[in-house]
């Protein structure tokens, strides 16, 4: 590791420990590191948006390439900024309406297809067979219906409805359990990556 890398990694190690110090309690070192991250991220993103959006969607097409139809979205974008004025904020409704209209038109069909039709099809169209795959399908169908029944409040949860509802809550809890287990793994991964980084830095610093 070169001297420059040692210094840069030293700063990273210091900031890592600053963030970890919050586990004990809130303190100025944590606040410094947190605000540094927020500041750097905001500055970076602002410049990035300028270069990836404003330069090649406004400046270059209109002022360099003479593609004047780009003026229309640019004006719509400027109209959004009237939100900051009480007097003129009504103007911003036009670009918002335009945006929502396009968004809805593009999204509604693919959302229905992806989230509803494909999921329904996968749940009901797989054939029930007398093997493990068939058992899997049966469990999926029963689990889906039971979980839905748990959230169905239009009739009292009595009799078979109550049994299905009780089974539904177990299904939901199994789902939450899987989510919790994977979340723990993810959070530990973040900790471990920092621990490995600190270990490697100490080894590089002291030549252990």
């Amino acid at each position: 590791m070169t001297t420059g890398q040692l210094i840069l990694n030293g700063i990273a190690a210091f900031l890592t420990l600053c963030i970890f110090s919050f586990l004990y309690k809130d303190n100025p070192f944590y606040k410094f590191a947190e605000r540094l991250v927020a500041g750097v991220a905001t500055g970076y993103w602002t410049i990035l948006l300028y270069h990836t959006n404003f330069t090649d969607k406004v400046i270059e097409p209109i002022f360099i390439n003479g593609q004047y139809h780009y003026i229309i979205p640019a004006v719509l974008g400027i109209m959004m900024w009237t939100r900051f004025s009480r007097k003129w904020s009504w103007i911003s409704r036009y670009p918002i309406a335009f945006y929502i209209g396009i968004g809805s038109g593009v999204s509604i069909t693919v959302y229905l297809y992806t989230y509803l039709f494909k999921q329904l099809q996968a749940t009901i169209s797989t054939p029930l067979t007398l093997d493990l795959a068939g058992l899997n399908v049966l469990i999926i169908v029963i689990a889906v219906l039971s979980a839905l029944i748990y959230f169905f409040f239009s009739s009292a949860h009595k009799g078979i409805f109550n049994v299905a509802s009780r089974f539904g809550i177990y299904v939901i809890m199994i789902g939450f359990g899987a989510g919790f287990g994977l979340t723990v793994m993810g959070r530990v991964a973040l900790l471990v990556q920092r621990i490995i980084f600190l270990r490697d830095y100490i080894v590089a610093l002291f030549g252990g």
Partner: protein, 280 residues
């Protein structure tokens, strides 16, 4: 014993942090091997890339940032290593605003190891904001959102992009993400253009996406760092994923111990309250 358990119910959370902190230091001093069993959903992603013929194209989307790189980087390295090892042509993109620098570093490093040339063997398109719009536009032509690559080179001037127009010209898309872009790829990518899609996800997200595997909307999932370790095992490239496994084992044992102790303490204290007439 019961008093001890009741005290455990009131333990300061910082002792738990300290216990886990100390526990994960053990493998840092003396590591050990953890055998990794490969799950079918990870194997499917591996086989998809492995079945591709040299010269075929795969599209890799690394939509993550430093906050999730601990889980995502191992997957990215393993897949990119496998792709270059198989002499596949790779198109890279990121739809995360903080991802471009990391993707560039990974691509440059792995490409150098395999002696692959930018513009000839692979292409890094860079970053554009608004993932849904970018995915829809790439489905028409990669050149619509990305007339030039990350370095400003026009796509048409690169040999790797000759004759490559959109998703229909690549074998499939592998999306590695720590955020909501997975939904955008399922909805606007697979939903709109129906290309083969696989996801590499953080552990937190993974459980929410298995229904898409069952429905066939995605053909594989690499779930969290465990999935990354499985992929590294398949590729024969032990990296950060495998390195993290001993830490994961120790940390999980400590967490499980705390869960067991707290549950025993909870039921013991509930029983005592019941006897005193203040039961739940």
């Amino acid at each position: 014993m019961r008093d001890f358990l009741e005290k455990m119910m009131l333990i300061d959370r910082r002792w738990i942090y300290l216990a886990i902190g100390l526990a994960v230091i053990i493998p840092a001093i003396k590591s050990f091997h953890v055998p990794v069993a490969v799950s079918p959903e990870v194997r499917k992603v591996y086989e998809f890339v492995d079945d591709a013929k040299p010269g075929e194209y795969i599209f890799l989307c690394f939509d993550y940032n430093p906050s999730t790189m601990a889980e995502m980087n191992p997957m990215a390295y393993a897949i990119l290593n496998q792709a270059f090892n198989k002499d596949l042509k790779v198109i890279l993109v990121t739809l995360d605003q903080f991802g471009a620098g990391m993707v560039e570093e990974i691509a440059t490093r792995v490409a150098a190891n395999h002696k692959k040339v930018l513009g000839e063997d692979y292409c890094f398109l860079g970053y554009r904001p608004y993932p849904a719009i970018v995915i829809l536009a790439m489905g028409i032509d990669f050149r619509v959102p990305f007339p030039a690559d990350y370095y400003g080179t026009p796509l048409d001037s690169m040999s790797v992009m000759q004759g490559i127009k959109n998703f229909y010209d690549v074998k499939g898309v592998i999306e590695i993400t720590g955020g909501s872009t997975a939904d955008f790829w399922i909805i606007y990518g697979n939903g709109r253009y129906d290309f083969p899609l696989a996801l590499g996800l953080t552990g937190v997200m993974s459980a929410d996406y298995y229904q898409y595997l069952q429905s066939g909307q995605i053909f594989g999932i690499i779930p969290g760092v465990k999935g990354a370790a499985e992929y590294e095992t398949l590729v024969g490239f032990p990296g950060e994923g495998m390195a993290q496994m001993p830490y994961q084992v120790i940390a999980h044992i400590v967490i499980l111990l705390f869960i067991i102790i707290s549950n025993v303490a909870y039921f013991a204290s509930r029983k005592k309250k019941g006897k005193l007439g203040g039961g739940v």
